[in-house]
């Protein structure tokens, strides 16, 4: 499991108030936006800001779309590309 994937998992746990056990079950296919009631538009703002802080990346508004937030795998792929270039 990559360091970036762990960071994304921790961010979702912290921002959405999910349990450690719950986020531990997340895999690439786990749906996020639309499937997690905790993930409303304000929570999305918190998730993106915390990912920026912890990974030292910048996320522009036009990069944020439904596809990127569709699943845990998609969000992790996006974060990995951003963090590792």
């Amino acid at each position: 499991m990559s360091e970036v994937e762990n960071t994304v998992r921790d961010v979702l746990r912290d921002v959405l108030g999910l349990s450690e056990d719950r986020v531990a079950t997340f895999d690439a296919e786990t749906p996020l936006f639309g499937a997690l009631p905790e993930l409303d538009s304000l929570a999305v703002a918190g998730v993106l800001t915390e990912m920026e802080d912890r990974l030292g990346i910048l996320i522009e508004d036009d990069e944020v779309d439904g596809e990127m937030l569709e699943s845990f795998g998609a969000l992790t792929r996006f974060a990995t590309q951003k963090a590792l270039g």
Binding site: T7, D10, A43
Partner: protein, 212 residues
């Protein structure tokens, strides 16, 4: 114990813990809603420090918390001036303990040394506020009306050199990493007494080393 302190713009209150003499740790909460999520946590750290014989104060700053100054008149220069006045009132050997964006406020010469936990830069806070502004259906920034001058100044705000502690999930460089959760991001205010004790131990050892 609640005590008043005076700064150039008026009078505010501060919570005081521990002995009435010796070194004193002056705490700066993060700005805006992160303050609500971390207030009890910072009080826990100050109580743990008091048990180790180190005094601490938590000032309300103008435009935050219970201050009567409304957020639409908040100004970085006032926050900094009030923090400096609180530190001067608290004692002669003052050290700062700043969380997140509180690290923007402790640049005063009154402070001997600085200790920061998960510091957030002005540019990072500015981006977070902008994102909140766009995501929220309400006017303002997460329920706060903020003056333009504040928002213009924020990205350029400087953070002074400090002993920097971060959560071990944060990949950026720091002096010390600790396990725990990011309370400032929790949807509801929570406390973490284990983390508070860990940080209090680090601060106590650091203050003693600075005083030696």
């Amino acid at each position: 114990m609640i005590e008043p302190y005076d700064w150039a713009g008026g009078r505010e209150a501060m919570l005081r813990f521990g002995p009435g003499s010796g070194p004193v740790v002056v705490a700066a909460l993060p700005l805006f809603e992160e303050a609500n999520r971390t207030r009890a946590f910072v009080v826990s750290i100050l109580r743990a420090l008091a048990e180790q014989g180190i005094a601490g104060v938590l000032p309300e700053l103008p435009g935050t918390g219970d201050s009567l100054v409304p957020t639409d008149r908040i100004a970085i220069s006032d926050l900094r001036a009030a923090f400096a006045a609180a530190a001067r009132t608290a004692g002669k050997r003052a050290y700062s303990l700043a969380l997140r964006s509180g690290a923007l406020l402790d640049g005063t010469v009154v402070i001997r040394r600085r200790w920061h936990f998960a510091p957030q830069t002005g540019a990072e806070l500015f981006r977070a506020l902008q994102r909140l502004h766009r995501a929220d259906d309400m006017p303002g920034y997460g329920g706060h009306r903020l003056p333009d001058a504040f928002l213009e100044e924020l990205p350029e705000c400087h953070i002074e050199a400090a002993r920097t502690v971060r959560l071990d999930t944060d990949l950026r460089p720091c002096d010390h990493a600790v396990p725990g959760t990011a309370l400032w991001r929790q949807p509801e205010p929570e406390n973490d007494l284990v983390l508070a004790a860990l940080l209090a131990d680090d601060i106590a050892a650091w203050v003693r080393a600075c005083e030696a």
